[in-house]
């Protein structure tokens, strides 16, 4: 899996994504800056593409960091309660501040995402029975508990309708002015790259890290903060995209190993490509309607997840 091919695929798919949609736009239309097509292109298509790329890369990297730090290949924001904690945070921000601004929602949701992830890591520390498949199950249960709390309060406060926007990941609502929060992912990806070696060492365990003079706890906590930040921005702008952070890092790991400095770029690229493919399929399959991204990723992703589970069993 060469970086060159991934980049090529990404460019081709990006171009395709820009020109697929209900109103047909051809590249020639863009020559006229005043045309309606150019406006749609700039207000809707381009933001959509940028959002997909950033969300895809961001969620995959978040998953990669979580898997490394928890030393479990089946841990990701989906299977560790991070996504559910984020949603609970968004609900709380909506209930606390009547007309919460994006930044207020972001801050509260971030605190919840971080707290949720920390609680999961604490549970992980206490589990004696470290079976590879048992741990994500615990995470899923934990996430479901959080989720039911969210649903309960959302129901009481009559904001279920409102909340469901964050339940289902959806790129059709992405427009200029509604996705810019995602740009936070860019500096986070860069920071993650600079911390890649530390994350790799931390992934070899606490004793191992201490032997190499690494401040283990600090690196783990820092990594979890990055994960919570990315997850929050993605859930707030796009909604929940399940499985992405789980399957992409696993696929790259099979081919390239776990040396993060080498695999981070691949993981980010493949994440973006995978999300683009799902998005384009979702837009084309029932044209002119659209299948939401979380459904597309959920169906394809759970299939791949099952495959990875069985593959793991065969090799264990």
């Amino acid at each position: 899996m060469k970086k060159r091919y991934l980049l090529l695929a990404l460019i081709v798919l990006s171009a395709a994504s820009l020109f697929v949609g209900v109103s047909s736009i051809s590249p020639l239309d863009l020559l006229d800056f005043q045309s309606e097509e150019t406006q749609i292109f700039l207000i809707s298509r381009l933001p959509r593409l940028v959002a997909i790329l950033l969300a895809g890369a961001g969620m995959s990297i978040a998953g990669l960091i979580m898997q490394q730090l928890s030393r479990n290949k089946f841990v990701s924001p989906t299977t560790a309660g991070t996504l559910d904690a984020t949603r609970l945070g968004i609900l709380v921000s909506m209930l606390l501040f009547a007309n919460a601004t994006m930044l207020e929602k972001m801050a509260v949701a971030f605190v919840f995402a971080l707290a949720g992830t920390f609680v999961f890591m604490q549970i992980l520390d206490r589990i004696k029975f470290k079976d590879a498949i048992f741990i994500p199950l615990v995470g899923l249960m934990f996430g479901n508990i959080l989720s039911s709390v969210t649903t309960f309060f959302a129901y009481r406060a009559d904001v279920i309708q409102n909340m469901s926007a964050w339940l289902q990941g959806d790129f059709s609502m992405i427009m200029k002015g509604r996705y810019e929060l995602l740009y936070i992912s860019i500096p986070i990806l860069i920071i993650a790259y600079f911390y890649a070696n530390r994350f790799t060492v931390a992934g070899m365990g606490e004793d191992f890290s201490k032997n190499l003079g690494l401040a283990y706890r600090r690196v783990v906590n820092f990594g979890l903060i990055l994960v919570a930040l990315v997850t929050t921005t993605v859930v707030l702008t796009v909604g929940i995209i399940p499985f992405l952070g789980l399957i992409i890092p696993n696929i790259i790991s099979i081919f390239k190993g776990d040396h993060l400095q080498k695999t981070l770029p691949h993981t980010a690229l493949l994440g973006a490509i995978f999300l683009l493919v799902c998005d384009i399929l979702g837009r084309v399959l029932i044209y002119p309607y659209e299948i939401s991204i979380s459904l597309m990723v959920g169906v394809i992703g759970s299939g791949i997840f099952l495959y990875l589970l069985f593959r793991r069993k065969a090799y264990a």
Partner: protein, 253 residues
């Protein structure tokens, strides 16, 4: 020199290591032996700072280990624990390169690359340096870990049961390498061993522990001796001398 002074560790009310004072001589192999639960691994963990001691202190070259910076400590002392359970898919070369982490934080300099090459060469791993760790046998993996420790280039190397799960051939191979590290590179090696015959044949000094205390401490020939072994293991163990080695024949005692 490593000086352990009145070191203790409690788990709840039970003391696992109790008031241990022992000196570890430089440029020697010192083996820690003793029955299960004697506190050998706990002691090693405290010396290497993986575990905090409750009382007492550890001095390395007269400096208190608790006051040393993590990074400086990592350039002076390395430790390999008995279970290197690793979920991380790295190649041998990548793992060994991380031995240079305390020096370069992963951005390898030319000198780092040279040292990594040498370490691989030293452990005869050059040919298979690009294999992933999870594709290796137990003996190969253990060699890869030791190569990493060699790349870490510390004066003191602590190993907690490095022969665990290894067959005879690989055990001998590892012990010979440790011997060479001391004789050729002037390292100080401290190992926890279960097999007293390996301890007898390869170490310069032996420290015997029992119930958290040091019961014997001295040159190998003073410890591998029926009376001393009786005190340590509560067994009558005859000693046979073969080719200059003292072999404990404990199988039928």
């Amino acid at each position: 020199m490593i000086q352990v002074r009145a070191l203790s560790k409690l788990y709840g009310k039970k003391s696992v290591v109790e008031d241990v004072t022992v000196d570890i001589q430089p440029r020697k192999i010192t083996s820690f032996i003793g029955p299960n639960g004697a506190g050998k691994s706990t002691l090693l963990s405290m010396v290497s700072r993986l575990l905090d001691s409750d009382t007492g202190e550890v001095l390395i070259d007269k400096a208190d280990v608790k006051k040393m910076k993590s990074n400086d400590f990592a350039k002076k002392v390395s430790i390999l624990k008995q279970s290197n359970y690793m979920n991380v898919r790295l190649t041998i070369r990548e793992l060994v390169s991380f031995g240079r982490f305390p020096y370069s934080k992963g951005r390898l300099t030319e000198e780092d690359v040279r040292i990594v090459d040498q370490s691989l060469e030293y452990m005869h791993l050059t040919d298979m340096q690009d294999s992933f760790l999870d594709e290796l046998s137990g003996g190969q993996r253990q060699r890869a870990f030791i190569a990493m420790v060699i790349a870490q280039d510390t004066e003191y190397i602590l190993l907690d049961e490095p022969l665990n799960n290894l067959d005879m051939k690989h055990s001998v191979q590892i012990m010979k390498i440790l011997r060479r590290l001391v004789d050729e590179l002037g390292k100080t090696v401290v190992i926890v061993l279960h097999d007293i015959n390996f301890a007898s044949v390869y170490s310069d000094r032996i420290v015997a522990m029992k119930d958290g205390k040091v019961v014997k401490d001295g040159p190998t020939e003073e410890i591998i001796e029926s009376a001393a072994l009786k005190e340590i293991y509560d067994m009558d163990i005859p000693i046979q001398k073969m080719d200059g080695c003292r072999i404990c024949v404990y199988f039928s005692s």
